[in-house]
Symmetry: C2
Subunit: 883 residues, 2 copies
């Protein structure tokens, strides 16, 4: 044997490779080697390495030097182990050839079974199996598969011949065909292949083997595989391994069969051998759906010893790999062969239970358990779900915008939602799309369904923030609001009818589907406690109402990182006063309106502070452009004019004069606070009065007053001076003092660049990464729907930057802001309060950049806690590895 | 004398200080010292240094140690020089005390004259002057000034007593009051001061002097001075000098007088002694406007020898200071005293002429001459001006948005402007505000007048770009378009009437004011040639039409840095095709529309390339959101639908679906190029076909194709691939090859951060600092009018960031972009094409950051050339100083 080693034998409890060599042997090859070394019986064979694959391409699609020799030499050892010989007429060895890349690409590449059959060796197979029908069936299957996979003849061409044979024999199923019928199929099939390809079907087993191996090499570059790799970011340069293995057959009679086993239940996590078994069958038959597999229990009854062996193997593998195993096995004449083992996919509840159980069993430590559950996965656990056992009628599907299922009576307007909810009904808000004016209706509803919009539309973002289930962009929804009904797919649904949406799957379901509530105790609580032990980042919530704050505390929030005061402005009983304040040109009616709003804001803040009881609460002063609060329909403008006792024309002119071309970049945030200081003054007064009065009741309050959209330190200096003046006045009037801090939302590139100056005034920074993304990328979240999906699909962007923080652009601004801010004020408290605060990759980024906390919507708080723990553990791991 | 030296004598041709010590002596003190040392006669005196002023504050508003002694010692020397004694009853010396800061703050601080007068010394003054009326007049003036300035009694209180005296003497003017009347005024004035202040009026000359000096120290912190310093960025820590000087009197008879002289004509620059003279008067009288001064010629007739002395002094000072001098002088009994000299302010034409003349005279070298003209100033020279000699009726004023004067017939719509202009008329477009749809009308008009908008409104920006005069925000303009007239102030102006606007002053003038054309030859051309010799930055122009390109070349542009293709889309004969292209949902009508537009774009490009003849032309592919081109009025939508032969409802729906919340951050720039590649393909085809066909004619063309709004290198890679494919196809079809480059506009923060990656694809960068300002600062140019003026006025921002590049935010992004871009591609060509490309501070920034060129609107090209030269010369200067 000359040159590089390309071929790795596994046979008789001893493999040349090992489990850790995934890059060299591919996942499947490494698993086979590992199982062999563990003394588990796998059909003997060998793996051709990924290096051989790459060398094959490098040589212009030719075997590299030495490969052919190594294959033949190793094949002899396999023959010795199997006790049969490849191409032998008496005792022929049959082989399978399967791909196996370092990263799993299920179903993307090729497989050829039963290699080695021809008119001579089939006779040997008949002799050793004593079953001509089995042998001819194997033969025609081989010709079909080889002709299709290796020689490129469409599957249908073989099907046609098979159908013709069944017609002649007047039978229904393949399995009813006689041995003779199967035998006579082979020759026409080979002829057909030759006619179609111009090449003779190869009869020499060695040619068959070589062509099969080359076909697997080539399949690394088939269209499906190329697309799959691009979608999953798998480098082309990995190459695939090729596994050549002795065939075993599960279709050799009642003492044969094939199956799949999980070492724990992948739905619940319960520890027992879970799986399916099909007697006297090959894996293919299961896939083809010809016969229904039975629960594994059936194997226990049929062959108790084999079942016990399987259980034992499962235990061995789980102990060895320290994770749930998903095992493929075949039983040939009472002998158990393992074909594959890998980590088992599992549901969210199972993932949590398995991780916790394995700690209790001593298989994992707490840190490992924390790393075992994907943060995004646990989102499912936090919301009610549709009972998986229940029947349901799915009318249509949309985008799953905010998880959880919700049932309620259909309403088409926000007002109706509020009205019915106040009457004690559960409602579902169904609209073409939503706008800020719908906020109260969205809050009143159990869930929101829209016809338009994407994953970052207003409805989606707000619903996630509120923890309402939400399905958006349901194209089959057509609303006829004035007539009080809508069409969903073919069905007509009237206002007041019950409807259910599943925000995790996007399904829209007729009537009231039965729901199962979330359980936050038990294993979940235990796992989260471990997570909290290992994380460094604090986790706060974005909450605008006491109700949201309540939920967030239940989910473990350590304070409020963002309380948006503007949502409080939309309440029906105050919107008129808010509008008067905005439209009023003169100080008097404006002051009058502010005086009306003040007690309402104060009571909001009291509710919020009371729940957070001593935890910090970051209140952002009014941020959006004023015209967002104004009516635009003529009728509503008329109402406002009447309320204000002013001419409608005047009010309308004022409303129009507040319109902006690009409101996102307009007169908002602290710019309002500077040109209309009385609004912030009212808000600060409400915050401080609430805090002082609660303190008198014995409740500790720590308000952090956040000034939005600061770009120049001078802006913050002016607003801060106003805040301090108002705060001082309130505390003197009430004769009690509270601690409060003043800081800023970092949401403009210029703020990051001048963070050293801004930190002279700011006691904390909170990165508003939603707006920072909009400004850094020049991308309006409201408008990006026109091209962002195209961008993500064509991988111009790796992720939607409103979902996963863009580290190259936005991230660098965060880094600059942190560094310069702490230069001036080393103790500066820094958090993030954009949507990214609840997204695991972004949380890991915040951990690496030494932020103090993340803040996210209440329902993402547990996700953030877990993600923060994983980021910290990964960090420790990296430290350990590098030191 | 102990400790630090605070007091600097100047007397008898010898001063302890010198002209270079402005920081120590203040501007006035340094000038007096310098003149004294030059042997020019100034009234002897001394300067108390700014250090003394600062020490005075530091000591809690008390004279520092040694100051009083130094003052007295030096005063004796002044007495010796003047031949009179301070406080002496026979020959009293009178003193003036004047402020004088290192940076001129005209009129902001205090002055006291005639110090040293009391009931005794006034008798001495009568004796030496032999003029009781003069003496008593000086006395009552002193009491008034001291009482007001030093003791804080309002001026009106003194006026009242004066009026009373005039009533009693039954005279009209102060100058008609008798000596006796003046004498009897003094005592009541002193009594009034005592009553009002509770303090006796000081009669001891030394007390008067000390209190006056302290008053001048204190005036550094009066309100006016504080505000002025803040507005002009003058540090508080400079302090002021105090000049104590012998009084001289221009009101001592026919051989006395006072005047102001310029060594060259400040309007034209012509070299002769220019100024005004008032016989037998003090400077105060000139200021008070009691008598009209005469041209300096009158002095030449009255006292030819003194005039000759003055001319000689002027020559000496000009030679010494190497600049035009603005001289204040007084003649007392035939003796000429110089009171002050400083650089003379001058008009733009004068500045150019003086700089050039002084080089020819050998007074300056070319570099110095280039530094002597403020770039912004020459803007005036490039446009027609209203003949300064002409009579005119000013109806109202607005903001001077784009310089130059323009006359024309009033039109109220863009269409009317185009129609009349095509009929050969000169028109002035008068509108409430303008929008992109008005572009052609703006181009057709001589000038634009709007009722609304600020210096960065659409009208202002576009007009500057086009070099059209423009006045915006004229609040006294009320348009009644449908009735075909408007009101401007009190006047009614009908459509078709002539009107003139002056874009440099903001004036709106009735009828056709006579205009004077710009002269770009002579001195101007000579100065610009020197500027070109010393600058390193290239200067290109932003030009969208061959006409603009033509003007820019005349102004010295070295290529086109930004050709915005979208302006070409608004032409009346193509807008329908453009709209069809946008609205068309299917490929066929879209292709049909593109095919119509192609030849028009091609002919535009040919015109542009032909004029630029071998110079590079940067063509930006379509940038704005498509809906900017669409009609919004129902009627226009109907027209479009008819043109397209589609239902109006469908067209309307499509138009609405293209609406965006924040178009600035929406579906525009290369995002369009990626989702609708056929548009860019058409544009690239037009560019390349134009270039190839011209090359065949023997004209060299070097198109630089610029891709806008790139944030991800992947975007540029995709668009560039499309460009190269189209270019290759065109060149093969036409069988000729042209060089072209592909680059990108840098206008997003993310682009700067990823400039290293983007430079892999881009052959040039052009910083679009308009949009980069909008994104970095989160500031919409269209909406900033609501608060930006407030921000600039209250100094939250030092400058409007759309006018002067924000170095801290936008500038850092430019720096990062340059550095990272050149890391990847050291030869990367980098320019700037925002409005800032024509603003001198911003140009200096571009020079320091090693950009290759700036690009600006045609009329700013000369400004940019001069500013670039100054930046380079300042750099050389700094190098020389530091080495």
């Amino acid at each position: 044997m000359s040159g590089k080693k390309y071929v790795y034998l596994f046979a008789d409890g001893c493999a040349e490779g090992q489990g850790a060599w995934r890059d060299l042997l591919g996942g499947k090859g490494a698993g086979l080697a590992e199982m062999t070394n563990l003394g588990i019986r796998v059909p003997p064979g060998f793996t051709i390495s990924t290096e051989a694959c790459l060398a094959y391409y490098a040589a212009g699609n030719r075997y590299p030097d030495g490969l052919q020799d190594q294959i033949l030499t190793t094949l002899h050892k396999v023959e010795a182990s199997a006790g049969s010989v490849f191409g032998d007429r008496e005792q022929p060895l049959l082989l399978s050839v399967r791909s196996g890349a370092p990263i799993s690409m299920p179903g993307m590449m090729d497989t050829v079974l039963n290699i080695g059959l021809n008119d001579q060796t089939v006779e040997g197979l008949i002799k050793t199996s004593n079953d001509p029908r089995f042998a001819y069936d194997a033969y025609r299957r081989f010709v079909t598969m080889f002709g299709n996979v290796v020689m490129g003849v469409p599957h249908e061409a073989f099907e046609a011949l098979l159908e013709e044979a069944k017609r002649q024999e007047r039978v229904q199923n393949d399995s009813d065909l006689s041995a003779e019928a199967l035998r006579t199929l082979v020759e026409p099939m080979k002829t057909m292949v030759q006619e179609r390809t111009g090449r003779a079907f190869p009869n020499r087993p060695r040619d068959q083997l070589r062509m099969s191996i080359e076909a697997v090499f080539a399949s690394w570059y088939n269209d499906r595989a190329v697309v799959y790799r691009r979608l999953n970011n798998i480098p082309e340069t990995l190459g695939t391994g090729v596994n050549v293995q002795t065939m075993v057959f599960g279709n050799r009679g009642a003492d044969s069969g094939t199956g799949v086993a999980f070492t724990r239940d992948p739905s619940t996590g319960e520890k027992y051998l879970f799986g399916e078994y099909l007697a006297n069958a090959q894996g293919e038959d299961v896939v083809a759906g010809i016969r229904d597999p039975q629960p594994l229990g059936s194997l226990q009854q049929l062959m108790p010893e084999v079942y016990a062996q399987l259980a034992q193997v499962g235990e061995t593998l789980e102990q060895h790999f320290r994770d749930v195993q998903d095992i493929e096995f075949t039983i040939q004449n009472g002998r158990l062969y393992l074909l594959q083992t890998r980590s088992g996919k599992r549901t969210a509840p199972a993932a949590v239970r398995i991780a916790v159980d394995m700690v209790h069993e001593g298989l994992l430590d707490e840190r490992e358990a924390v790393m075992r559950v994907a943060p995004e996965q646990i989102d499912q656990l936090l919301h009610p779900m549709i009972d998986p056992m229940a029947e349901k009628t799915v009318l249509a599907s949309g985008l799953p915008a905010s998880p959880g299922a919700a049932s309620g009576r259909v309403v088409f307007t926000a007002e109706e939602a509020v009205r019915r909810q106040e009457g004690g009904e559960r409602v579902l808000l169904v609209r073409n799309e939503t706008s800020p004016e719908d906020i109260r209706g969205m809050h009143a509803a159990q869930g929101i369904l829209t016809a338009r919009g994407g994953m970052t539309s207003h409805a989606a973002v707000v619903a996630r923030g509120m923890g309402r289930s939400c399905v958006v962009g349901c194209r089959e929804l057509a609303i006829n609001e004035s007539s009080g009904y809508c069409h969903i797919g073919q069905a007509e649904v009237r206002a007041g009818d019950f409807l259910t949406i599943d925000g995790a799957s996007g399904q829209v379901i007729r009537g009231q589907a039965p729901l199962v509530e979330a359980d936050l105790g038990g294993d979940f609580a235990e796992l989260m406690a471990w997570a909290d032990k290992y994380r460094r980042l604090g986790v706060r919530c974005n909450a605008d109402t006491p109700e949201d704050a309540e939920i967030a505390r239940r989910f473990g929030a350590e304070g409020v990182g963002l309380c948006r005061t503007e949502h409080m402005f939309f309440a029906e009983d105050r919107i008129m006063a808010v509008r008067q304040m905005i439209v009023a040109d003169e100080p008097e009616p404006r002051q009058e309106a502010l005086a009306q709003i003040l007690p309402m804001q104060k009571s909001d803040f009291k509710g919020m502070f009371r729940i957070m009881d001593g935890l910090p609460v970051t209140v952002r002063l009014l941020d959006p452009p004023l015209h967002e609060f104004l009516p635009h329909a003529l009728e509503e403008i008329g109402e406002l004019a009447a309320y204000m006792r002013r001419p409608a024309r005047e009010v309308r002119r004022r409303v129009e004069s507040l319109n902006e071309s690009n409101p996102m970049l307009g007169h908002r945030g602290c710019r309002l606070g500077i040109t209309s200081p009385e609004i912030y003054q009212m808000q600060v007064q409400a915050i401080l009065e609430a805090a002082c009065e609660l303190k008198r009741e014995g409740i500790e309050v720590f308000p952090e007053i956040m000034v939005p959209l600061v770009g120049y330190v001078e802006e913050l200096a002016i607003v801060k001076r106003h805040i301090d003046e108002t705060a001082e006045r309130v505390m003197q009037e009430l004769n009690i003092r509270v601690d409060y801090a003043v800081g800023t939302m970092m949401e403009l590139p210029r703020a990051s660049f001048t963070a050293d100056a801004i930190a002279r005034e700011a006691e904390f920074f909170s990165f508003g990464t939603n707006d920072l993304t909009q400004t850094s990328l020049g991308l309006s979240r409201d408008d990006a729907g026109m091209f962002l999906p195209h961008y993500v699909e064509h991988e111009i962007m790796e992720h939607d930057p409103f979902v996963v923080l863009d580290e190259e652009g936005v991230g660098e601004l965060v880094e600059i802001g942190v560094e310069r801010g702490r230069q001036t004020r080393p103790e500066l408290k820094i958090g993030i309060c954009g949507e990214h605060g609840g997204e695991p990759n972004s949380i890991a980024f915040c951990h690496r950049k030494a932020l103090d906390y993340v803040s996210c919507s209440p329902y993402r708080v547990p996700i953030a806690r877990l993600a923060a723990a994983q980021a910290a553990l990964r960090d420790t791991e990296a430290d350990r590895t590098s030191s």
